[in-house]
């Protein structure tokens, strides 16, 4: 065997091994989390309220809060993030303002989430005097989403072939018509991928929410009030393991972890399904 072919074989083997390794890590991780957690999950666990001292509490409010806060934070950050991304890709001319916006986006993206949490606490919890609230949590979480959404949107919009713009403008479309009818639909798959990414991170976020939405839940369930405390699933795992007084803390943490994985999966699926449908409709 020549040296070149030898090198080719080795490279193939190494790259294959790297791919398999990822698979093994994920599989081991999922088997452990789901293996320990799934048996805990039953209707009662999913829908009942947590208990402070006694065993047998559920995570109903946390499940509700997880979806509620994630959805609210997306509701706040999506229009701003996508809007800024479109501006950066389509309108921004090279210059001071553009550089400043880009710098701000990158700076925001590099802020550790614990700092965003403390910032949220200073601003919403203490400054506004709201205390720990779902509103404060969602707003602080939006700061985490924003830079990713801006960047993903900008990249997705830039990736739309220039020929689409020319075709549309050549037909006498305005810039906005071109963006709304041709560019955004073409960039949508990329933007939705970004939303999936952001939603996954938001669902699993703890540091920000501990300081803004708190580690307790409303006495009512479900409580759609924006001003209620809003512990989420991820925060519940942290809280029950680090300062929980319930005797079945391990059971609750295991069940909540499995549920969290499933929630992310469901969320991704909900976003991917229309994407898949959209792609298959437009490709051929």
């Amino acid at each position: 065997m020549t040296r070149q072919r030898m090198g080719d074989r080795i490279a193939t083997a190494l790259l294959w091994a790297a791919g398999i390794l990822i698979l093994v890590i994920l599989a081991a991780f999922l088997i452990r989390i789901l293996g320990q957690g799934l048996p805990v999950l039953d209707w009662n666990f999913l829908t009942s309220k947590p208990r402070a001292m006694a065993a047998g509490g559920g995570i109903g409010p946390q499940l509700f809060n997880t979806f509620y806060i994630t959805a609210l934070s997306l509701l706040i950050s999506l229009p701003i993030g996508v809007g800024a991304g479109i501006y950066m890709a389509e309108y921004a001319k090279p210059g001071r303002l553009t550089e400043l916006i880009r710098l701000s986006t990158e700076a925001l993206a590099s802020v550790p989430s614990i700092v965003l949490g403390l910032f949220g606490m200073i601003l919403f919890v203490n400054g506004m005097g709201w205390g720990f609230t779902i509103a404060g949590g969602a707003l602080a979480l939006s700061l985490l989403n924003l830079p990713v959404l801006v960047r993903v949107t900008e990249e997705a919009v830039r990736a739309v072939p220039q020929s689409y713009r020319e075709a549309s403008l050549g037909l006498g479309a305005t810039r906005w018509q071109t963006i709304a009818k041709v560019i955004l639909p073409s960039a949508l798959p990329g933007i939705l991928t970004g939303v999936t990414l952001v939603a996954g991170r938001a669902i699993g976020e703890t540091a920000i929410l501990i300081y803004t939405a708190g580690v307790t839940v409303s006495r009512h369930f479900p409580d759609p009030s924006l001003m209620a405390a809003g512990e989420t699933l991820a925060v519940r795992i942290w809280a029950v393991k680090s300062e929980g007084l319930v005797p079945d803390a391990d059971r609750i943490a295991a069940g909540t972890s499995a549920l969290l994985v499933l929630v992310v999966l469901v969320f991704n699926f909900l976003l991917a399904a229309p994407l898949y449908w959209y792609r298959s409709r437009n490709s051929r």
Binding site: S168, L169, G170, L171, A173, V182, N282
Partner: protein, 253 residues
């Protein structure tokens, strides 16, 4: 030329930053005729075409001086609505660029953005435009299918149909057949000859046989200059300029 003119171009210079891409071009574009722009790569023929519907506006640093009049009106005057201008001047590009939508939506795109909502009118426009582009028979049963599923030649005729749907007065074509196979090219050429009845056409081509086959007038560009412009027949049999003769006889380019 004792023709009726659609567009008159006088002393047009085009700069990209400091680069002078066109040098005082003066040329008249007759109505209901096919005018071919020929010349080697980089000679400025495509750049010139893009001056005619202000597509160069999209290029940062591009500047145009001189005057381009369409039906007597300066298209670079400050009060001119570029959007309206581009509606009057259709453009077909080098590579077919259908939108990732259905065939029907591609054709209806132009009329829709200009406010046409009536289904019957749109249906009629889609059919007449596709017929005008000699594509109707091939696609009439799959109008709701994606345009990306068409062959390259069909896509290009679709793009021509899409331009026709907004009823332009002038049609600009930037090497419309260069990405197509010979059979598709022949179809597009036949189509251009037919369109001449109702439209004024300016076509950029690097293929001299094509220019000879389909055009009434030919302009030869070289290094940003217009070397020679005249009736295609004269140009190909009896060129005035030595450089034109060298080019069309294949001595360079």
């Amino acid at each position: 030329m004792s023709e009726q003119m659609r567009m008159t171009v006088e002393n047009v210079d085009l700069y990209y930053g400091n680069f002078r891409a066109l040098r005082s071009i003066t040329l008249n574009i007759p109505a209901n005729r096919v005018t071919a722009l020929i010349g080697p790569s980089g000679c400025g023929k495509s750049s010139f075409l893009r001056c005619l519907n202000r597509m160069n506006d999209l290029v940062p640093g591009a500047r145009v001086s001189g005057s381009i009049l369409m039906d007597g009106e300066d298209i670079y005057a400050p009060h001119v609505d570029v959007v309206l201008l581009r509606k009057r001047i259709g453009m077909v590009f080098q590579r077919p660029n259908p939108f990732p939508m259905s065939i029907y939506d591609n054709i209806a795109y132009g009329p829709r953005i200009h406010g046409e909502k009536r289904k019957a009118v749109l249906d009629e426009l889609v059919e007449s435009s596709l017929r005008g582009a000699a594509l109707w028979e091939e696609v009439k049963d799959r109008l709701s299918k994606s345009a990306l599923g068409l062959s390259g030649g069909q896509q290009q005729r679709l793009c021509i149909a899409r331009s026709l749907a907004v009823k332009p007065e002038l049609l600009l074509m930037d090497e419309p057949a260069s990405a197509l196979d010979p059979i598709s090219t022949a179809k597009v050429e036949d189509l251009i000859r037919e369109l001449r009845e109702n439209y004024s056409i300016v076509i950029v081509t690097h293929n001299m046989q094509q220019a000879a086959r389909i055009s009434d007038y030919t302009a030869f560009f070289l290094s940003g200059e217009l070397v020679e412009y005249g009736p295609t027949g004269t140009m190909f049999t009896n060129p005035r300029d030595q450089r034109t003769e060298d080019y069309i006889t294949g001595r360079f380019g």
